[in-house]
Symmetry: D2
Subunit: 428 residues, 4 copies
C-alpha cells in the first residue's frame, strides 16, 4: 500500500476531528518506527503538547534497531530517554515464560510480554517526571492497545492515554502519508509491523494474507534450511531449575545466552514459525515469527520436564501453562491470576535440572544425550529387560483395573443393548 495522495487527503481530513484531548507534557513510548514518529508529530500538532518525553526501552531489539531509533529521534528533534530493561526482561519475565513452556497457538508471546514491561516502565517514568499523559502508537486493530491500556491503568491511574492511530482511525498507508507530508521519511514495510526482542521477532504482523510469501531477506536470524550449513553442529545446554544456564560448558546469563542461540539456531535453519493466532478481539490473523533460541530452549525444557516431573504434574501443568500463555497474551501480566499460576509453576521447577547434548542441522534439533540427577526415569524398574518386580503382580492390577468393565458389561446385559461393549448403542 503506497503512501498515495488519496491516503494523505483522507488522513488530513481525519485529523481535523474535534474533541481531541489537549495535554501539556505527554510521555511517549518511543520505538523508532512509523507509529512512534507519527505520535511525536501529532503530540504537538494535535494534542497541544508543549513538551514531549520520549522513552525508548531497550528490551533486546538489538544494536541496529536502537541506532535507527536514536537517529529517528534526532531527526524529529527529540531527546530520548533510554531505559535498559534487558536484565529484568530476561531474568524475571522470560524466566517465567520458559518455565511455563510459553505457547499461545505456537507463538512464544514475545511482543505480548515486551509491551507490558515497556508500558510499566514508561508509566512509572512518566509519573516520576510529572507527565500528564501517556502516548503510544498502537493501532485499534491489534492486541497491543489492550495490553498497554491495562498496564497504564494500573501504574498511572487517571492519566489519559493518547493513541493517535486509533484515536484518528488511521490506516498504515495514511500514517505513512502524514509522516512523509511532514518530512519524516518512511523506510519500513507497510504491510505490517515487525517487532524484535531478544526472545523472538515478528514479521509483517497483522498484514499477512493466506498466501503471502515473505522474501528470504526478511529474516534477521533465520536461514532457510536450503541455505544452512551441510554439516551438523553439536552443542550442550545445561538447565537449572527450569532455566538454561550454560551452553557448551560456558555459564551465561539468559541475556547473554539468547543472542548466542538465536545466532547458532538461526544459522542452522531453526526457529521459523508460521501460525494462526486468535487475537484478543477474537479475530484470526496469520503470523510469521523467527525465534531460534526460543524454539531450542522450549523444546528442551519440555523434554526435561518429561524426565523430571511426575505424570500427574505434567498433565496438570499443561492446563496451567495453557492458561499462563493466554493470560499473558491477553495483556494480563499484572493480573493476580498470573502470580497464582507462577506460584504453581515455580514450585514444580526445582527438580528440572539436567544437561542436553543436541545437534542442529538444517531445521532439525536432534537430542543426542540427556543427563539429569533429578530425573524420574527408572529403567531398573520399568525396562522389559530387567527383573525388577514379579510380573504376576500385574495380573491382579489388570483384574481390579478391569472391574468397572465388568460392571459396565452387566449393565449392557441388563439393558439388553444390542451392541457388544460398554456403550449404549447410538439411537437408544
Amino acid at each position: 500500500m503506497p503512501a498515495t495522495n488519496t491516503n494523505l487527503e483522507t488522513a488530513l481530513r481525519k485529523i481535523e476531528m474535534t474533541g481531541v484531548p489537549q495535554v501539556r507534557k505527554p510521555a511517549l513510548a518511543f520505538a523508532g518506527g512509523l507509529d512512534s514518529a507519527l505520535c511525536a508529530l501529532l503530540a504537538t500538532k494535535k494534542y497541544g503538547a508543549a513538551e514531549i518525553v520520549p522513552i525508548l526501552v531497550n528490551i533486546g531489539q538489538g544494536a541496529a534497531e536502537l541506532a535507527a531509533a536514536r537517529e529517528k529521534a534526532a531527526h524529529l528533534g527529540l531527546t530520548l530517554i533510554v531505559l535498559d530493561v534487558q536484565d529484568e526482561f530476561s531474568n524475571i519475565w522470560l524466566k517465567k515464560a520458559i518455565r511455563a513452556n510459553v505457547d499461545y497457538n505456537g507463538y512464544p508471546c514475545s511482543t505480548s510480554l515486551a509491551r507490558q514491561l515497556i508500558s510499566a516502565v514508561v508509566a512509572q517514568k512518566a509519573i516520576e517526571l510529572g507527565c500528564d499523559a501517556l502516548m503510544e502508537g498502537s493501532t485499534g486493530k491489534g492486541n497491543d492497545q489492550f495490553r498497554m491500556h491495562n498496564v497504564f491503568a494500573l501504574f498511572a491511574p487517571g492519566l489519559p492515554h493518547l493513541m493517535p492511530v486509533r484515536d484518528f482511525d488511521l490506516t498504515r498507508g495514511e500514517e505513512a502519508a502524514l509522516c512523509e507530508h511532514w518530512g519524516v521519511p518512511v523506510t519500513e514495510s507497510l504491510i505490517g509491523g515487525d517487532d524484535t526482542t531478544m526472545w523472538c521477532r515478528s514479521i509483517a504482523s497483522g498484514g499477512l494474507d493466506l498466501d503471502t510469501i515473505v522474501p528470504d531477506d526478511a529474516w534477521l536470524w533465520y536461514t532457510p534450511p536450503q541455505f544452512a550449513p551441510d554439516e551438523p553442529e553439536t552443542l550442550t545446554i545445561r538447565f537449572e531449575e527450569g532455566v538454561p544456564v550454560a551452553v557448551n560448558g560456558q555459564r551465561l546469563s539468559l541475556r547473554e545466552l539468547l543472542p548466542l542461540l538465536n545466532e547458532l539456531g538461526g544459522k542452522h535453519g531453526i526457529g521459523k514459525l508460521d501460525v494462526w493466532e486468535d487475537g484478543i478481539m477474537d479475530l484470526k490473523s496469520r503470523e510469521l515469527y523467527e525465534a531460534p533460541a526460543a524454539t531450542i530452549i522450549l523444546r528442551l525444557h519440555h523434554d526435561l520436564e518429561g524426565l523430571c516431573l511426575t505424570k500427574d504434574e505434567l498433565v496438570f501443568k499443561k492446563t496451567v501453562d495453557q492458561r499462563w500463555a493466554t493470560l499473558v497474551y491477553d495483556g494480563e501480566w499484572f493480573h493476580p491470576l498470573r502470580a497464582d499460576l507462577d506460584a504453581f509453576v515455580a514450585q514444580t521447577q526445582g527438580v528440572v535440572n539436567g544437561e542436553y547434548t543436541i545437534t542442529l542441522y538444517k531445521g532439525n534439533i536432534d537430542i543426542v544425550k540427556r543427563e539429569s540427577n533429578s530425573g524420574l526415569f527408572a529403567p531398573e524398574i520399568r525396562s522389559i529387560t530387567a527383573e525388577s518386580f514379579n510380573q504376576q503382580l500385574s495380573g491382579s492390577v489388570a483384574r481390579l483395573r478391569g472391574l468397572p468393565y465388568e460392571v459396565l458389561a452387566k449393565r449392557a446385559a441388563r439393558m439388553r443393548w444390542s451392541s457388544v461393549g460398554a456403550q449404549r448403542p447410538a439411537g437408544q
Copy 2:
C-alpha cells in the same frame, strides 16, 4: 541380552510353577514375534491345550511382517486365521484419532489403538469358534496387558486370559532361551519390542535407556535428514471434515493414503519421534517412533483447525483432545467417555475442510499455501491495512476491558500495599 544358559535354566525353573490354569482350546492373538511363539509353545506344554486357534490381525503392519508371521506359524505347525481389519482401523479408529489430534506426550497412540481393536476382534472370533480361553504375549511391565484385559473383559466376559510372559514372570532373554531350547529360532532384537501399524512404528519399545542410539538401519520408512534428497518435494493434501482425502489431487482412502505419506515423508526425513512416555503404571519410558504420515497429517490438521474453528472451540478442544489421547492410551477405547468425547469432536469437524500445499525437505514441513471455503480468517476485517471498522470503537473496549484493573488498583490503594500493581506483595 543374549539367550544365555543362565536364562534358560532360570526360565525352565520358572515355568515349573504350580497352579497354572488348564484349558482346552485357547484363541491366541498371534503377531509372529518372540512373544507369540512362546505363547504357542506354552499353550500345549503348560496350559494343557489340545488345540490352538491362532489369529493374526492385519492392521497394516505390511507385507513383509505378515509373511514372516505366516512363516513362523508354519514353523510352529499352526494354521493361522487371518483377519483383515485395515478398513475398520483406518476409517473408524484412525479417523477419530486424526480428528482428535491424537497426541499422548508426542506419541500418536498407534499400538494403543491397534491392540484394542485386535483384542476385540480376537475375543469375538474366540467366542464364535467356541474357544475356552484368550491368550496373548504381553509382558507384565508394559501397557498392552491392561489394554487387552479391558477389551477381553468386555467382549468375552468370563473367559480366562493366559499371558505366559507375565504369568511365569519371564524376562525377554528367558523367552528367547525357551524358544531356542524348543527349536524356534529368534531373529529379532532383544532390547525391546517393535510394533508396526499403518499409522506408526515403535522401535525397541520398553528397552531404551537415556543414551541408547539406534542404528540407522533400524528404520523402516524414516531416512535421517543427512541422507534425504537435496531437492524439496512439493505436494498437496486435501482435508474434508477433518480427514485427509486426497494427495496431489488423487482421491485416496485413508488406508491407501497412509502408506503413500509414510513413503514420501520418510524419504524426506520426516517423522522421527523421541519422546518421554508416562506408562499406565505411572513409570517413565523413553520411546522412539517413526510416523511420517501421522506427523504430516497431524501437523496440517491442527493448522487447518486453527483456520476453521473458533477461538473458543480451539481452546476447549485442546482439553478434549488431551483427554481423548490419555483415555485411548490407557486402554479405554470402549469406555463410555470415549464415545462422549467423540461426539464433541465429530460436531466440530464439519467445517474442517481445505487444501494445503506443502514442501518436504530434510525433516522440514513447510506450508506454502492454504485454501479453505469454511475458514474464519477475515483479513478484510482484521488486517491493519484494511479500513474495516472505525478504530475509535476499540478505545471504548480498552476502557471497559480495563475496568477490573481500576477496581484492583483501588483495592491496592485501600490495602496500602507497598508494591505498585494489582497484586498483593509477596509476604503480605
Copy 3:
C-alpha cells in the same frame, strides 16, 4: 431512588443528544416494564419511528405479568404481537440446561437463556414483517445488551440496534422520570430489575448492595422456612435421559412440571439463591434469585448422574458443564462451541434414568429412595460385607500403585533432601 425533578431535568437534557439514528418501523422486544415503556415512547419521540412493532414473547413469566404487559401496551397505544415460545424454551433450551447441570456461580442462567431466545424470535419476526431496526431496553451496565447483540447480529445482520437506556446513558431514576413526565405510571421497584421465566426469577438484579435485605413479600414462589409448613411433604420425580418426566407418577411435560415444582418447592422454603456473579464485563454483582423447581431438579439430576455415569465421565463432564454455563451466560448460545458441548452432553444422558423419592421440609430436600435400572452402583462387588473378590488382589494393586513413590523416595535420597517424603523441601 425517587423519580425526582433533578432526574427529569438531567434526562431531558440527555435525550437532546444529536446523531440519534432515525428509523421507520422498529421491532420492539416488549416485556411490559419501565424499560419497554421508555423504548416505546422514545421510538417515536427520538428515533423518528412512524410505526412500532411491539413483540411480547411468552417465556413462562406467568399470567399476571403477561396481563400487566398487555395493559401497559394498551396504555401506550401499542398493538402487541404475542409469541408463545414456552414449548421451545422448555423442551429444547431448558432440557439442555438441565442435562448440563447449568450453574454459573450458583445461578441457573434463566435470564441468560431467555433473552437469547427472545432475541432470536424478535429478530426473525422483525425480518418477516419488514422492520428496519431492532429495539430493546437493556442498560449499558448489564449482561443482556451483549447477549441480545450477538443474537441480533446473527439473525438480522445489518439491522441497527436501538437501546435507548444505553444510547442516552440513562439511569433507572431518569427512565422513571421520563415515563412519568409523559404520563406512563411507574409501578415497579427502582433498585433493580426483576425478571421471571418458568425456570427462575431474579429480584432487584443489578441493584443489591452488600447488606441489602429484600422484604418477605418480594418473593413470588419462595416461602421463608420459618413460614413454611411444619409437616414434610414426600414426592417422587422420575427422570428419563437426564430430564424430569413425571411427578408423583403423573407424566408431565417440562412446561407443566416446572410450575408445579415451583409451587411445591417454594411452599416448603426451597430455592432461594443469594450469590456472587461475575458479569460479562468482569464486574461483580450480588444477585438474589428464587428457583424452587430448578433447585430440586438440578440437585436430583446431579445425584442421578453420580449413580449412572462412570467416574471418568463425571470428572470430565464437570469441565464441560462449567464451560456450557459460562458460554450461555456470556450470550453465546448460538456459538458453535455450544453445539459441540451439547453433543458431548447428549451422548452421556441416555443412561441417566431413574426415580427419586424425596421429602421437602423447611428448605431441606432429603433423598429417601433412589431407583435406576441403568445405575452403576454394584454393592455385590464393592460392599465390605460382600465376598466378591479375593482382597489379596488389592495388595498387588497397592504395591504397583505405590511404585512411583519408590522412585520418588529414591530421588529424595539421591538428592539428599533434608525433609522426609517425595517433595523437594521449600527453599531448595
Copy 4:
C-alpha cells in the same frame, strides 16, 4: 450380618493360609475398633510378633472414642502410645483443605486426610522405635489401603505392610467372629465403618445400599431438622487469609473452632451429607457423613472467595480445587503435585478476608451480612442505579464483541447453510 458359626469356621480356615510373613516387632496403627483388635490378635497368633507397638493417633475423634480405644487396648493387654496431632491436622492439613474448598463428590475428604497423616506419624514412630513392620486394619475393598500404602512406602521404605483383613481376605462378619472367638467383645455395627475426626464423621462407610436408612441415633452432632430448635440462631464468623479465625468475636484456633461449629451447626440441622463416591478402584459407593462445621465453613469460604477473588482466579481455581480434592482422596497428599497446587492456592488466599453474619435454622444457613476490606465488589461502578461511566461505551464493546458473529454469519451465507445462525446444521 451376625458373627455366625459359619463365619467363624470360614475365618479359621482362611487364617490357616501359608506364606504369612513373620515379623518381630510390628508398629500397629491402633484406632480402637474391630479392625485394630483383630490386628493385635493376629500379630502374635499369625505374624509371629514377639512385641506389638500400638500407636493411637489423636486426630480429634473426641474424648469418648479415645477412652473406648484405651479400654480396648487394655483389654488386649496393649500399652498404647498416644500421639496428639490435632494441631498439625487442623493448622496445616485442614487449613489447606479449607482454602482449596475441599470437595470430592460432595465429601470433604476427612478420612482421606486423616489416614495419611496417621500413616506418616506411625511410620516415623515405627522407625524411631526400631520396628520391623507396619500393621493396620484396612480392608481390601476400600480406599484406605492405598492411601496408607503410599505414605508407608515413602516414610518407611522397605518395611513390610501387614494388613490382615486383606491378607487373609476376611469379611467384616468373619473379623467379628474371630474377635469373639478369642474373647474380645464386638460392640460396633457390622454394616460398615464409622470414622470420626474433628472435620467430619462417616457413617457405616462401605456398607450402605441404595435404600439404607440409618436410625436417628446414628448421628453424633447432627440433629434432623424436625427436631432442631424452632428459633434461628445468629452468629458471626471471621476469616483471615482464607481460614476462619473467630466466632462471635472470639478468636479461636481451628482446633477450638471446629468442635464449636460442629455443636452449633449440628444442633440446627446442618451438615448431613448423602453422596455418591467413586472410589480409588473406580467402584461406586453411597456414603453418609455428618460435617456441620465443614459445611458452614466451606459454604462461607466459597462465598468469600466470590467476593475477593477475580473472575479469572475463581474459574481457574475451580480446576485446581477439583484436582486437589481428587489427589488427596486418592491418597497422594505427599505427591509433589499437592505441593504445586497448594502453592497456587496459598498465593490466592491473602485477600480472602472478611466477616460473615449468618443465621442457622433447621438445616438452613442464611447469610445476613458480608463485610470485607479486600473485596472486589464495586457497586459505585457496576450498580444500575449509579452513574459511573457513560453507557455509550458499552455500545462499542457490544459491536466489537459481536464481530466474530459477523464472521460466522458470513461463513453461514457462503456455505449456504439452510439453518439460520452460526452453526452448521446437523447432518451437513
